[in-house]
Symmetry: C2
Subunit: 288 residues, 2 copies
């Protein structure tokens, strides 16, 4: 794996996860909401900003036509705005958006931009429920891991985080921070329990000794309630932001990404070195 460039003597970075409430059918309003969130985050010292899934478009589409009308090419207004914000505030920005591909297909995508421009895009590979009926086409490429001035940052979207194999790919590529734009629907859970989506992200982080920053949406959209479970989790798997379930919030945490280069968890254990990939081949009917 390639080691990321570091700033000598300082590997701390402030990450903001922006829990906002995009509205379907209101792209102009969503752009303003994102701008306000990013400016607030920058004002609080954020250097890396994470936005929710489909933050340009909202989520609960009436159907394929409404999705298609919300989708944008990579040179559309959403990524132009993010690049301008990144340049103006010296930020790395990651977030989700509805992408209209050059071939006319529509994807649930994410992008990473920094002051130099668009660094990576990604198309969600594991689609959730109605996304399949809206006409989203799943991605075929692994999660990108990008060398930034702050370290190596990986990127995937929402339900992708529930597939440990997918998270592992990013971690083995050297991601020190995995950014996850999400839209987590609100489900019932037992009294006193932390939402399972957050628990699973904690595990993603710990088994890879990698930070994970999740920006969830909030609000209610066409009757769908959202969890609002944004969180930054450290390389031990514990949250380093307080939860602000269901509320609009900009949550920040200052973390040391150098920690995530060291995979040791005991004198003789290393979460990646201890893997036994030769034994992980699934049963023949599983290979496809």
């Amino acid at each position: 794996m390639t080691q990321s460039p570091t700033r000598p003597g300082n590997t701390e970075v402030t990450v903001a996860v922006c829990q906002i409430a995009p509205r379907v059918g209101d792209p102009g309003g969503n752009q303003l909401r994102i701008r306000a969130a990013v400016e607030t985050a920058a004002g609080r010292g954020a250097q890396i900003v994470v936005l929710p899934e489909l933050s340009n478009s909202g989520y609960v589409f009436s159907g394929p036509d409404e999705l298609r009308a919300s989708a944008e090419p990579l040179d559309g207004p959403t990524l132009r705005e993010w690049k301008a914000l990144a340049a103006r505030h010296r930020l790395v920005i990651t977030g989700g958006f509805a992408e209209l591909g050059e071939d006319g297909r529509v994807h649930n995508s994410a992008a990473l931009v920094d002051p130099t421009g668009l660094r990576a895009t990604y198309r969600k590979a594991h689609l959730w429920n109605l996304e399949k009926t809206y006409g989203f086409i799943p991605g075929e490429a692994p999660p990108p891991v990008v060398d930034t001035v702050y370290g190596r940052i990986g990127l995937m979207v929402c339900y992708d985080l529930e597939f440990p194999e997918w998270v592992r790919l990013a971690a083995l590529e050297g991601a020190q921070l995995l950014c996850g734009p999400v839209n987590w629907p609100l489900y019932p859970r037992p009294d006193g329990e932390r939402p399972g989506e957050i628990v699973r992200v904690q595990a993603d982080a710990a088994v890879n000794r990698m930070y994970v920053a999740v920006a969830d949406r909030t609000g209610t959209e066409r009757g769908q309630d959202w969890l609002g479970g944004s969180v930054v989790v450290d390389a031990d798997g514990y949250p380093v932001t307080s939860l602000s379930l269901g509320q609009e919030a900009i949550l920040t945490a200052t973390i040391d990404l150098a920690v995530a280069r060291d995979k040791a968890i005991s004198e003789r254990n290393d979460v990646h070195g201890d893997r036994r990939p030769a034994l992980y081949t699934p049963a023949p009917e599983e290979r496809s």
Copy 2:
């Protein structure tokens, strides 16, 4: 995958996880502790009983000689006792023990016995810290998944549970309940946080919609404190036993293993069917 035989009209089963305190160098005492725990569990209605890792031997060996002296072949007193207990109380018993192989090598093993006898053994494939210096040889075989009268039960040991690839193998083989004998060392954690080991088991369960029953040890052994984090987690990833951190305890839960056959989590999602194994091939340097 093979469907397990079911008892018509009743798929509920009571599982007990036995949080006991084995002592190194006291095999006779350990046998009595196990017997008492199994009898207590049976008295509370348990049908499946899980014992900790290395429950016959204790854990903190002075070195390879003490380990070797504690290790037993498959026809040794420990498995003879477990088979007798299983037959007497009509139980499935899983637990960990120090195994002396026919070739003289020593393994950190687990067994599953039922009233018909020894059904499966397993050798821990991912060794923890000092286990490497004690002379344990890691296993090379995948986790077994056994058809029992109650459903399909998988088996692995402690640190194995931290490798989602390994857990996935058992789940894809149809395990409805994964039994994990563990010895979790006590580590510091942030105030108010559930131990990360339990969080990771919750994720293991949820991403596979499979029950997980972990029996941890407790007590202090040659200065080593143990977590005592035994837990049964349901297929949604939430604990169904109360935690009894650090205490000796027999914890029971009545669960419906039929739930774990259905991997659907939305109208259009299935935690196994949504996997994309063709995309999970790691980078070439990862293959070994």
